[in-house]
């Protein structure tokens, strides 16, 4: 039996992020988040070492399995540790730790099971034109097609989930299609959710068009093989 305590865990999936991961972890510590779990997804660089040195708990996939798989590994760890709230926080330094507290407040005291970050609800984020006009609307359309839920920002890695949501949402899409999968499962299990503005700073562009197609392909395959 796992005893559930009022404990917040931040899960940081990371693949070859030795340059950013240290800064991400210290940023989290500075804002009082001490339970940082880095899931090193089979990095070929020093991600694990840097993360450990920065003070995070590090779980290392022996081989690269994709961001969805890394998140699920982190979630299973948190479940085994009895945490009550979990934050998904990207390892490349694109998120702002200041956005965590208000989102956690919504989950702990606002009656929400899940809070999903969106960079489109305020104008702090500088979004490249092609993303704003082409990629994000496309992603929104695909997401709506597969989940029936309308979100402003589908592929946003910032999420806060309570334990109930954590137990219900088992991420099986290893790749990037997990974004859509999580939304689908939130709806399936009737979890109470809302979007919440977060700031995103772009270091790199992110997924190219091929990555986007891969997501659609993964979603179709998982529909067939379920």
């Amino acid at each position: 039996m796992v005893t559930i305590v009022k404990m917040l865990f931040v899960i940081v999936p990371a693949h070859n992020e030795e340059k950013n991961i240290g800064r991400v972890i210290s940023g989290l510590f500075e804002h009082g988040y001490n339970n940082v779990v880095v899931v090193d997804d089979g990095s070929e660089d020093q991600t694990s070492e840097v993360a450990r040195y920065a003070g995070a708990r590090v779980i290392t996939h022996p081989v690269n399995r994709g961001q969805g798989a890394a998140l699920q590994t982190g979630q299973e760890y948190v479940l085994s540790q009895g945490g009550d709230v979990v934050v998904h926080f990207d390892g490349d330094g694109q998120f702002n730790p200041l956005d965590i507290a208000p989102a956690v407040e919504l989950v702990r005291n606002g009656g929400y099971d899940a809070v999903l970050g969106s960079k489109l609800l305020d104008n702090r984020s500088k979004i490249p034109w092609t993303k704003r006009r082409i990629i994000i609307p496309l992603a929104r359309f695909v997401n709506r097609l597969f989940t029936g839920v309308n979100l402003s920002d589908v592929h946003n890695g910032f999420r806060v989930l309570n334990r109930k949501a954590l137990e219900k949402i088992e991420i099986t899409n290893s790749g990037m299609a997990h974004n859509t999968e999580i939304v689908r499962k939130i709806k399936e299990h009737g979890l109470k959710f809302r979007e919440h503005p977060v700031e995103v700073t772009y270091n790199e562009y992110g997924l190219g068009p091929r990555g986007g197609l891969q997501i659609v392909f993964d979603l179709l395959i998982s529909k067939i093989t379920k």
């Binding site: 899931v39 089979g42 708990r57 590090v58 779980i59 290392t60 996939h61 022996p62 081989v63 399995r65 994709g66 798989a69 699920q72 590994t73 299973e76 760890y77 085994s80 099986t172 290893s174 395959i221 998982s222 067939i224 093989t225």
Partner: protein, 109 residues
């Protein structure tokens, strides 16, 4: 025609390989039988192309060659579908394995 000799040689080689793999116990008996039938059918079609004409007529397809192409396509689709679903399952299994290894390591520490 030269192409016939070439195809027969290829099919014979396939037949030979199947038997060899069966001997090394890499192939089950049922699979061996299926492969032998397939190779022999291939040889039959190449040596006496006219047989496809009769089979095609039974199926209501105009030409033997067309029947071969239709059937091949159908079989290929099935094989690809099987492969895709199988790889997907393998991927999931590998993910589970890596997860267990990763979590085991951290709890032991």
């Amino acid at each position: 025609m030269l192409i016939q000799y070439l195809l027969v040689l290829i099919f014979l080689y396939g037949l030979f390989r199947s038997v060899a793999r069966f001997r090394k116990k890499e192939l089950s008996k049922t699979n061996l039988v299926v492969w032998i039938i397939l190779w022999l059918l291939g040889i039959l079609v190449v040596v006496i192309p006219n047989v496809t004409f009769y089979i095609a007529r039974v199926f209501g397809v105009g030409r033997g060659a067309d029947l071969v192409i239709y059937l091949s396509l159908a079989i290929l689709f099935l094989v690809v579908f099987r492969l895709v679903t199988k790889t997907e399952k393998l991927e999931r299994d590998i993910t589970k394995l890596s997860r267990n290894i990763a979590l085991e390591k951290i709890t032991k520490k």
